[in-house]
Symmetry: C2
Subunit: 419 residues, 2 copies
């Protein structure tokens, strides 16, 4: 029950809404912004002028107008000069990117990584090197405004404790601390790293620019070493009390099932995870995504044991999806990570089980889809998370670099001959 | 990505925030409102004056001030003159109440009902009679501003179709239509009925005035003929795409379990519902809440068969709770309806199963609680839902009765010698 905002809060909110719009949708004319944001022309002009003075957008006359009348200036995000660093630490690789405002990937590099836990430096050193290279290659005068990292949760320590996946920076987490220090040296700033789980960031990317764009209620499922999940409810991520909502891999689907690493038994990830597929197909475990692909390829070539394994995993996949559809009533379920391939190979089983276990009013309207952004979804989500602070309040002092559009004096409503 | 609100929208929003505050918290001094709402004194004074002019609040000098200095006027909701009608249609009874602004129950009446489906008129006729009586007994000049109804979903028709539980009125639903017509005759208005499921409204009541007050992430579970659920995530009800989120009774917990009325097998309600308890205890089914109480009483007296039944149901109850804790990471799970008693009798089993199946970081911080509002929680929730339109925009034209505080001329900031 919060009272309404002040005029200054509204101005800052509107600056954020405008910048977010061109960040997500790309170059947009003032006329289109006026229509889509529900603000009047002079307000759009004033806000755009402030963002332009801060170096966040440019305004230009459209080259090919194709019709008569005064042209509406096109507002474009300054992708080359305003960027974030994004990292993804996954089971078998580390990835880094420099991503410009507007979501443009300016630079991207990856290195393989030995699966499983290892010394911190095996992850931090290559990412720090990537950060140095990328910042060095960035144009003179360009601004680093944030860093995001997607980290596949080493789901639990030996004591069964789940590591929290809180929003924001993890001050006392060794990996975050080491990574922040290395990035700080590379970028010569001390901005914190926004660190979230792989599934949460992949879901954010798919919801912002991927297959779930415009969907308010989404269940996103991510397969890697385990099964991660992230829920979007009424347009917002479901975080839960401790920032840990959506741990659907540890929904028990089979009380008579196999022991799970979490100490429970029959968790969903024991039935549909990478290891379950490899065991069912009589393959060696621990081979990661290539091992999963090998089973799916074998099934495609007619290998009976692999086909049976895919059917079995697909049936449990549909079973868990049906439960989540009954619980969340989503409009879309998205399969990402290794679940993308697994779903494509077992869609018939998934749909068949959903039809038997899902409530009719729910299952009939839900769309089952695969990730549109593929393996880079977590990396792109890390970039989106890193942009969040700037988009929420564009002229605030971000990452130690004051954006001084406002400080140069009151913005002029830039209404000349052009609107 | 909506642009910021206009001044007029902010004023209306603030009127709603102030009215909601005294509706929930009762009489509050202007000084306390200034502090809790973060608005300045003169704004609080102006808003209060508008609400007072509309007959929604009164302002008075506190009787016993107990300290020196100028008294701060106390703002009080006008409970006797501004009211809603609330109905609850449950498995074995119908209940009606007239509830004043501020949540004061002014009148309440109930009648038993034969369990199971029956002619529409068996439900509508007594409720219409109650509505007539209560409106007749209301003081001259008092205003009926809305109607809410809690309806235990006859979960599915013979074809397995769940009836939708959309927010707002159900234009094409026979029960809603008949009830709205009867209430319209009684109240001489044609306001729609806000109809929601029993679990959703009980959760709303517990979240507004009950055990979950102040909790942002809640799983509410309601036992009656089946198992209903309602989720509060980040302070808001989880509605899902079609308004049906939270149907946790049809999460499958036992793939080898009993067939469920929904067409699936092993749904949670087949293991923890009323019928499961009665069957496990060797009792006759279909005896409703009294039948459940009889089993729990017998277990309390040492009846071995009843004790075993309670343990068995408690184990499955804990199992489903653990799954929901892993999925939602709530700060509280609330047991209402018949689950209130069942949980109290089986808390040891529930906690034990939660400890085995819940993830440590989640289960350690979750509080398990019983409903504070008891059997009237759905009725009180129906009243809250009926107040919602008024609280969202207090001076809008509600239920055909214009509230004319604004229309009498611009409100004067009522700052005299008193603040």
């Amino acid at each position: 029950m919060r009272a309404g905002p002040s005029q200054e809060e509204i101005r800052r909110h509107n600056l954020g809404v405008l910048l977010r719009s061109v960040h997500v949708h790309g170059a947009t004319s003032r006329a289109e912004l006026t229509a889509s944001l529900g603000l009047n022309r002079s307000t759009i002009g004033a806000l755009t002028a402030e963002l332009a003075a801060a170096g966040l957008v440019t305004e230009e006359i459209p080259r090919d107008r194709g019709r008569a009348g005064r042209p509406s200036l096109v507002v474009r995000p300054v992708s080359q000069m305003v960027y974030v660093l994004a990292f993804a630490i996954e089971a078998d690789r580390v990835t880094a990117a420099r991503v410009g405002l507007g979501g443009l990937v300016l630079d991207r590099v990856e290195a393989p990584r030995r699966p499983g836990p290892g010394p911190l430096d095996e992850v931090v050193a290559p990412l720090a090197a990537f950060a140095r290279q990328m910042c060095h290659a960035a144009p003179e005068g360009s601004r680093h405004i944030g860093t995001g990292a997607a980290i596949t949760p080493i789901v639990r320590d030996r004591d069964g404790q789940v590591r929290p996946r809180a929003y924001g920076s993890w001050a006392d987490d060794p990996l975050s601390t080491a990574l922040a220090e290395a990035v700080g040296q590379a970028t010569r700033s001390d901005s914190p790293i926004t660190r979230l789980g792989t599934a949460d960031l992949a879901a954010l990317a798919e919801h912002t620019r991927g297959v779930a764009l415009g969907c308010a209620n989404v269940v996103y499922l991510h397969g890697d070493a385990g099964i991660g999940g992230s829920i979007v409810a009424a347009g917002r991520p479901l975080t839960g009390h401790g920032g840990n909502g959506g741990e659907v891999g540890h929904m028990v689907v089979n009380p008579a099932g196999k022991p799970c690493g979490c100490g429970s038994r029959g968790c969903w990830e024991t039935e549909v995870g990478e290891q379950a597929l490899l065991v069912a197909a009589g393959r060696q475990i621990g081979t990661g995504a290539p091992g999963v692909s090998a089973v799916l390829d074998a099934a495609g070539r007619g290998d009976a044991e692999a086909q049976a394994a895919v059917r079995q995993v697909g049936d449990w996949l549909g079973f868990g999806v049906a439960n989540l559809v009954n619980i969340f009533n989503p409009e879309m379920v998205v399969f990402g990570g290794t679940l993308r391939e697994i779903y494509l190979a077992s869609a018939a089983q998934v749909r068949s089980r959903l039809n038997r276990t899902g409530l009719p009013a729910y299952r009939e309207h839900v769309r089952l889809r695969t990730s549109a952004l593929g393996n880079d979804a977590p990396l792109l989500g890390a970039a989106e998370a890193a942009f969040e602070q700037l988009l929420a309040d564009p002229l605030a002092d971000v990452a130690g670099t004051p954006l001084t559009g406002r400080a140069t004096g009151p913005a002029q409503p830039a209404e000349s001959g052009l609107s």
